[in-house]
Symmetry: C2
Subunit: 217 residues, 2 copies
């Protein structure tokens, strides 16, 4: 398959494919002569994965490059393939150093030990969590910490479902790729489900005709 056919099959323009190759997201085609290369099904599949991570997962090209490099590295332990991108995200934003941040870090540490999670608060997800909680606290929503355990229950349930799915999917494709797909696209899936569930729950609580009053203090 030449680059034009790859482009037609996937809907990705030729210059964009070249760009992905340059950025290290996609391996180059195998050269059959000085200016002819052939692409296989692996390229097609990889290209679809890239577009899904970009369009649905909202990842950046540089993050995808890191994650895919980790996917392609057989030395890399499964559990930190996604860490490759996560650490890059975490360090990008601004660090606060105030009372809210300190309190949020305590809340997170408490949560992790309370649930017996085998992780450490140095994990970038833990940092993101305390960043989000600190932002809420700065907005006067310290009390959100009260629903953290409900959230954590749901997160554990999702994590179990994910692990179970990956375990069952061994026959389909590379497990590592399944983990990436499940984690990144699964987040988009859950986010959409959460919004749907919000609509339903608020319809049940406030009436479904949407004619309710706006309450303010």
């Amino acid at each position: 398959m030449r680059i034009g056919e790859l482009s037609r099959k996937t809907g990705v323009p030729v210059p964009t494919i070249k760009y992905y190759v340059r950025e290290g997201l996609l391996p180059a085609g195998e050269l059959t002569s000085r200016n002819q290369a052939s692409y296989g099904e692996a390229h097609e599949r990889r290209l679809r994965l890239i577009r899904a991570l970009l369009d649905v997962g909202g990842m950046r090209v540089a993050e995808i490059a890191d994650v895919l490099a980790a996917v392609d590295d057989p030395e890399r332990p499964l559990h930190n393939v996604l860490g490759a991108a996560a650490d890059r995200i975490g360090s990008a934003s601004v660090e606060h150093d105030d009372a809210e941040s300190a309190a949020a870090q305590d809340v997170v540490a408490g949560l992790i030990s309370r649930r017996g999670w085998r992780t450490h608060e140095s994990n970038s997800a833990a940092a993101d969590l305390s960043k989000a909680l600190a932002a809420m606290a700065r907005l006067g929503h310290e009390a959100f910490a009260e629903v953290l355990d409900d959230y954590a229950d749901a997160a554990e349930q999702v994590a179990r479902a994910d692990l179970g799915y990956v375990d069952r999917q061994v026959a389909v494709a590379d497990v590592v790729e399944s983990v990436v797909v499940g984690t990144v696209l699964g987040e988009a899936v859950f986010s959409a489900l959460r919004r749907l569930a919000h609509v339903d729950a608020s319809a049940r609580l406030y009436g479904e005709d949407g004619a309710q009053e706006r309450k303010t203090i």
Copy 2:
């Protein structure tokens, strides 16, 4: 308070505050003379909200403008304040029209009716959901639909927690703002919790030392 103090209190540079005013995210200060304006606590609070939605929630400036316009509009029913931004997001990306999309839409319609959700598949969240499922199907992960109900259980639990929180928070501030904060920042919180739960679940399943082999088919 003048703009310089507002800037010092919130850590947002003065030109950036001016930019937010221009873009309609922040109301202008009250003019006390031709080139002097005074800002109050509402401005400070609003500014912190903007930064949280931007930095933690990952929203775009134009989306935030839409949502805040809806927040400030007392005529607007609560349940579609967030729709203001959601609809804008949905229409932004590319539409596919293939077998995977059609199948995914069927899966979503089935899910909604199976769970008795009082929503319609025309909801933009439903569209996002089928987009994500279609992307997975294109990657050979049609079977992900099997864990959808586990995801939906978790999403319902989170939605109940959110509604309960907002209900309890009536005394704190405007309910509508609480919904926005809970929905947007809550997503960041859940995402981080999910990643933490993944680490824990995979440590329990594969051993926590990270020395496990990489399995491939």
